[in-house]
Amino acid sequence: MKKLSLIVAGVAALTAASAVQAGTLEDVRAKGFIQCGVSQGLPGFSNPDDEGNWTGIDVDLCRAVAAAVFGDASAVKYTPLSAKQRFTALSSGEIDILSRNTTWTMTRDTQLGLNFAGVNYYDGQGMMVPTALGVNAATELDGANICTNTGTTTELNITDFFRANGMSFNLVAFEKADEVVAAYDAGRCDVYTTDRSGLAAQRTKLTNPDDHKVLPEIISKEPLGPVVRQGDDQWFNVVRWSLNAMINAEEMGITSDNINKLTYNDKTPAEARFIGTEGKFGQELGLADDWAYQIISQVGNYAESYDRNVGPNTPLKLDRGVNALWSQGGILYAAPIR
């Protein structure tokens, strides 16, 4: 009877263990790293270099969370996902955060069992056409062939836009961005549509980037941000506040360069709360009190991340635009740490 009781006990243990889903924060702590869902290569947002190191503002978000949780920004493993796979990968628990230029929409927030933890880039959908086509406005595109990705809001937005303007079009939707670029480059389509930041990034991959132009119309709002599973508020807070810390740091003028100088006595109360020498803000999140200090010293504030990855001095050459702080004419606004 020994074997039988062993089996019964084993099955019972298995059932008991699985019925209660542990919190993501504990899971992450137990395995020692964060599994971060990223794109399959979108320069400036999440892109691997030739040594396999990932960079980009979406990657920086995951690194910030790792810094907050472990005090080590490098405790991240990346899962490249197509637009089509991303939500399933998150729902199934394959990844802990989805940080993959993902648009926050009502359907996704309410129907998919997901929560958006904030916005790390305010984008809008645009269209790129070959200059030789002689088109100056999106309303002249009746009858166009349009290339884009499957499983994105861009498919819906472009359909809405053409329907609203009573124009016909043909949509060719690929699974991976690389194939969209290659097909557009080969002339399969007259138009390449995706988020404008994406257009800027993918344009660098074309044979002759200067032969193409981005049309002035912005046909949608695309707030891009990190996504977590619904129903785990603790983990949701960790991700949301990691992002808020980066934005607040920019507003307070705290950078990775000057944060160490703040340990002296001349810091303001807000700065003291931020770096964790005053108050117990980290504990409330389930983290160490120097969580924000770790983020800024290892990853930098939002402006540093922006300038390093997508700013005017990068191949993407994207101005801050609406992504500037609210105090500087943009709409970037984070709740205060207090």
Binding site: K84, L112, G113, L133, G134, E140
Partner: protein, 401 residues
């Protein structure tokens, strides 16, 4: 020895105990999976259900057979329509792929056995190259080879003036538009095909009995072509044709073939069909070669000594026997081809995985329901293929007398 220990050593009882344990384990496992799913879904605020199928879909789908059959219309069509479009497009490429792969595979397999070194060498190179390069790479190769070799959207290669042409956006052909009376025409066509099949059987039977040969194939074909044409004319031409329109003047964007005129076969379809057919044909060629080699050489010699020419020997003596060896592995190649068609998502052919398990899934987020529906389609199609091939196999297998 106590009674209980003797029970443990009783083989019969022991085997029953283990079987009961196995069944219990399976039931527990299934219950555990199901229960976990429900709990995890509830945690994420999701429910199970198929109500989403009646929601309208808000995205455009590349014009293909599926969108044409379902009369897809953004804003009016539902996710259920999207599902059917995916199924139709998957089946279209699978069926046409199976037909092409079979013809090409048989040709290549027979060519590999040729005495002619050039023919044999060509077939060998074909088989070795195509079956040893991953299918996804071939898919990309054919897609971009097709795209790069065609004129751009403003140009065309004219196949027949005003009726057929090809450029990078696809192959344009006249599209039939059914008018009243088209149904009669369809029935007449089916009737003529039925007569032709009956004629073939009758001719074969007569040949077995009397030895007289009747050219049933050509007579049947003629009957179908001329009979259908006759009915078409008698019914007052009940099918209108929509011809593709090509413009080479006007603003740059408006030049080229016009959307909505004629029928377009998109390059994505051509590439998927080419890749699947060529790839699977390489495997079928090997199966055919093995099947033919499995037939004893004496059969060929016996056939020659009866005075039959090599072509007839192959067709009437060797192949029917070889089919017994060929059909079982051929069935798995057909199943492979069907399942491989899901790779088409990579190059924008709107088949089931692409539009239903891709775009639609991302919008409604019903993973379990939608993936199950998709698996049901592949399973059904595979089982139907297998059933048909088993029936065919039973027909050609050696009947012992």
């Amino acid at each position: 020895m106590s009674r209980s220990s003797s029970l443990i050593y009783d083989r019969h009882i022991r085997s029953i105990v283990f079987q009961v344990l196995l069944v219990l384990g399976l039931i527990l496992g299934a219950w555990w999976l199901g229960n976990n799913t429900v709990i995890n879904l509830a945690d994420q605020g999701k429910t199970l259900g198929f109500n989403f199928l009646s929601q309208t879909s808000g995205f455009q789908i590349s014009s293909t057979l599926g969108t044409w059959v379902m009369e897809y219309n953004v804003g009016a069509s539902t996710y259920l329509d999207v599902y059917f479009i995916g199924i139709i497009n998957t089946f279209l490429v699978a069926i046409l792929g199976i037909i092409a792969a079979t013809f090409l595979g048989f040709t290549m397999g027979i060519m590999r056995l040729s005495q002619n070194l050039v023919i044999k060498g060509f077939a060998t190179v074909y088989v070795e190259v195509l079956r040893n390069v991953p299918l996804l790479l071939q898919l990309f190769f054919w897609y971009f080879a097709v795209l790069r070799s065609l004129p751009n959207r403003r140009g065309q290669i004219e196949i027949y003036e005003g009726a057929a042409g090809i450029n990078i956006t696809g192959l344009y052909l006249p599209a039939p538009i059914a008018q009243s009376g088209a149904g009669v025409l369809g029935l007449a066509f089916i009737l003529f095909v039925g007569i032709a099949i009956w004629l073939g059987r009758w001719a074969k039977k007569r040949q077995y009995e009397t030895g007289q040969i009747f050219p049933a194939f050509w007579v049947g074909l003629g009957l179908i072509v001329f009979g259908t044409t006759l009915v078409y004319l008698v019914m007052g031409q009940p099918i209108d044709w929509s011809f593709p329109v090509f413009k080479d003047t006007g603003p740059a964007l408006r030049r080229g073939f016009q959307i909505g005129d004629g029928m377009v076969i998109v390059p994505e379809f051509i590439a998927v069909w080419l890749a699947l057919s060529l790839y699977t044909a390489a495997f079928i060629a090997e199966i055919v070669r093995a099947g033919i080699l499995a037939i004893a050489k004496g059969q060929t010699e016996a056939s020659y000594s009866l005075g039959l020419r090599p072509g007839i020997t192959l067709r009437l003596v060797i192949i029917p026997q070889a089919l017994r060896v060929i059909i079982p592995p051929l069935t798995s190649q057909y199943l492979n081809l069907t399942k491989n068609s899901s790779l088409a998502v990579a190059i924008a052919y709107p088949e089931l995985v692409s539009i239903f398990a891709g775009t639609a899934l991302n919008q409604v987020g019903k993973e379990i329901e939608m993936i199950s529906m998709m698996m049901a389609v592949y399973l059904t199609f595979s089982l139907l293929t297998a059933a048909f091939m088993n029936w065919f196999n039973a027909r050609v297998k050696l009947v012992e007398r």
